[in-house]
């Protein structure tokens, strides 16, 4: 492909690609962002629901234990519970229902341990200074934060007060937090999700899955966590990007935290995105390939057409050159023909003068004779060349001028007069003198006459007759050229105007003369016809319109 076309192809390809692919990408991106937005909303919603559920469950767990102790405290008397064996019985009853109480104690208003069931020797402990004791005495109910205690197992304390003035007492129980840790951890999502509880200082109340142990600081800035359930995107101190749901427990200042790895959460979305990208990539490739193919095809076609047009233009230019060449050739032929006729005549005269006596008497007589013959031979050659040159004039656009047909005819005849003489052909001219002058092309008309005269001369035997006539007929001037040659056989009469049709031997005629004459007369608005009687001769008529 040529550089210009390659550049055109590049530009077309680029434009088509932009026009085709830009909307595709825009729609693709739009769809992706729309659905990923929806997906994210949904994930957040699910996370918040989960946080709510877990929070409720834990709340329920605490409430259940608190209310069991409350019921026990309200419905029992200090005396009944501090009787030997009574507290053990209650403790056994409680734990039979799997309430996960580790121990149970009764403490009076002064902080003294009245009764205790449990694995630790706490009977003599005085709690009057303990914060939880004061809190319980003040509010009636207390739930502590988680602590590890002596055994290193996470647990916490629930205490309720039996109000009776100065005789008030407290029922205190330690609760294994294992169960509720499990409850919290069941909210851990996927492979990288986490869920845990932190207290109001931000310390873990249940062990997190990653990044810390129970009671460690979680690093969560609690000041910015609102009271309602909410889902935020956050980045931890370690730089982990998380989607987190926060839910405060209603009765205890514990914060339920559920972390989710957004990459994991958005897994299906990512798959969809990859799928979309793949489809987009594939269609882009397909579109690009088709565009490139089509553009190349089109440009190649264009180039071909251009090339064809250029070839056609070149041919036109060639025809143009032929026409000017024709004009020149016709002029040159005319110029050459006259001196040529003189040379021929004079050579003929000399030839006649060099008779046998002269040839024999003169030392170069034979040479003279031979060279004269050669001169005549070459004159003939030049004459045939000029005739052929005249043939070039035929394709010119007619150059119209006012002219006398008789004059053109006699001029044409003058070219052949000598040949006629040599052949001993008698030529009779019967030209009407009252002919109007005609607007037509001299060179082309002359060409027609020359062709007809040439044919007629070739057709007749030595000593034959030619008759040239002209007359005026209805709206036209007619010139006829008649010979008394063998005529045109009937089976050939259809073909005489065919190009390359000739009755002459090889090398004698091109078969173009009549064909060319025919097309010239058509162009000049006239026509050419003939009559022929086999063995008697043929007559060709040239009809030239007067207007």
């Amino acid at each position: 492909m040529h550089k210009v076309y390659r550049r055109l192809a590049k530009r077309m390809t680029a434009t088509a690609l932009v026009v085709a692919l830009a909307p595709l990408y825009a729609v693709g991106a739009g769809i992706y962002f729309y659905f990923s937005g929806i997906q994210e909303e949904q994930i957040k919603h699910e996370l918040s629901t989960l946080a709510h559920n877990r929070m409720s469950a834990i709340s329920l767990f605490l409430d259940e234990r608190t209310s069991v102790l409350e019921v026990l405290a309200q419905t029992s008397s200090k005396e009944a519970l501090t009787q030997p064996g009574a507290l053990e019985k209650v403790f056994g009853l409680l734990n039979r229902r799997a309430w996960s109480f580790l121990d149970l104690g009764v403490i009076d208003a002064q902080g003294r341990h009245l009764a205790y069931v449990g694995p630790y020797p706490l009977e003599d402990r005085n709690y009057s200074e303990a914060p939880w004791f004061r809190e319980t005495m003040l509010r009636g109910t207390f739930v502590s934060d988680v602590f590890l205690g002596f055994r290193g197992k996470p647990h916490f304390v629930v205490a309720v007060k039996h109000s009776a003035g100065a005789n008030s007492w407290i029922l205190r129980a330690t609760i294994d937090s294992e169960v509720f840790t499990r409850l919290v951890q069941s909210a851990q999502l996927g492979q990288r999700g986490d869920s845990y509880i932190v207290n109001c200082e931000g310390n873990y109340q249940t062990p997190p899955r990653f990044g810390g142990k129970i009671l460690d600081p979680s690093g969560i800035d609690l000041k910015h966590v609102p009271r309602r359930i909410n889902v935020v995107e956050r980045t931890t101190a370690e730089g982990k990007h998380l989607l987190t749901a926060f839910a405060w427990l209603p009765k205890k200042d514990w914060l339920m935290v559920i972390d989710q790895d957004p990459r994991e959460a958005l897994g299906p979305m990512n798959l969809a995105r990859e799928l979309e990208l793949a489809v987009l990539g594939f269609s882009s490739l397909l579109i690009a390939a088709s565009i490139i193919f089509l553009v190349r095809h089109m440009v190649r076609r264009l180039e071909e057409q251009d090339r064809e047009r250029m070839a056609f233009d070149a041919q036109l230019a060639h025809s143009g050159r032929l026409v000017s060449l024709g004009r020149m050739a016709a002029g040159v032929a005319h110029e050459i023909n006259n001196p040529l006729a003189a040379i021929g005549e004079l050579a003929g005269l000399l030839d006649d003068l060099i008779d046998e006596d002269f040839r024999k008497s003169h030392p170069h007589g034979t040479l003279f004779k031979e060279n004269l013959a050669k001169i005549q031979q070459h004159v003939e050659r030049v004459r045939s060349v000029t005739h052929r040159l005249l043939g070039f004039a035929r394709r010119m656009e007619p150059h119209l001028e006012a002219l006398e047909v008789n004059q053109v005819l006699t001029e044409a005849f003058s070219f052949l007069e000598r040949e006629a003489k040599l052949k001993g052909v008698e030529v009779k001219l019967e030209l009407a003198q009252d002919l109007p002058s005609l607007q037509t092309d001299r060179a082309q008309l002359q060409q027609v006459f020359l062709n007809l005269l040439n044919n007629a001369l070739d057709a007749v035997e030595e000593g034959g007759h030619l008759r040239l006539e002209s007359w005026r007929d209805d709206g036209e001037v007619v010139v006829s050229v008649a010979d008394n040659g063998p005529g045109i056989p009937e089976d050939m009469q259809d073909s005489v105007f065919d190009p390359f049709f000739t009755t002459k031997g090889p090398g004698e005629g091109t078969g173009l003369g009549l064909s060319i004459s025919y097309s010239i007369m058509q162009k000049l608005g006239g026509s050419i016809t003939f009559e022929s009687v086999p063995h008697q001769g043929a007559t060709f008529y040239v009809h030239i319109p007067i207007s």
Partner: protein
């Protein structure tokens, strides 16, 4: 020795056709010409015996090259046809090759190329005619054998 080939030139561009014809004549070939598809068929009607190869332009007003080719191949299957075509009608040229044309030449045609293709086409025509003659002779021989 150059054997004379009967060539029918069919092209609406007279200049081109005549010049080509003259040059072929100078090479010793027998030339006839027609300036349209219709004329070509008429000319063949009158004298297809003298024609060996038809040189046919694809783009012509009236009956175009393709139709002319089909008409020629239908009536005178023994004639070889060489197509003249511009760049734009190469597709058509290929269709025409399938329709029985011998070969094609790109216009503007190189004369030597045309001469070479003409020679090949004529040779092919002769070979085919020879084969047919032999086949007929065999057939005839068998027939007469049967009569005996």
């Amino acid at each position: 020795m150059i054997l004379s080939i009967g060539v029918l030139l069919v092209d609406d561009q007279r200049d081109f056709t005549e010049m080509l014809g003259l040059r072929l004549q100078e090479e010793g070939h027998r030339v006839s010409a027609a300036f349209s598809g219709e004329h070509a068929l008429q000319a063949l009607e009158r004298g297809h015996e003298t024609v060996d190869v038809v040189v046919l332009d694809l783009k012509m007003p009236g009956l175009d090259g393709e139709e002319t080719l089909k008409a020629i191949k239908e009536r005178w299957p023994q004639l070889e046809v060489i197509l003249l075509t511009g760049h734009g009608s190469i597709d058509t040229a290929v269709t025409c090759l399938k329709a029985g044309a011998f070969d094609y030449l790109l216009k503007p045609a190189y004369f030597s190329e045309l001469l070479a293709k003409l020679g090949k086409a004529r040779r092919l025509k002769w070979e085919r005619e020879e084969r047919m003659r032999m086949a007929e002779a065999k057939l005839g021989g068998r027939r007469s054998g049967g009569l005996m």
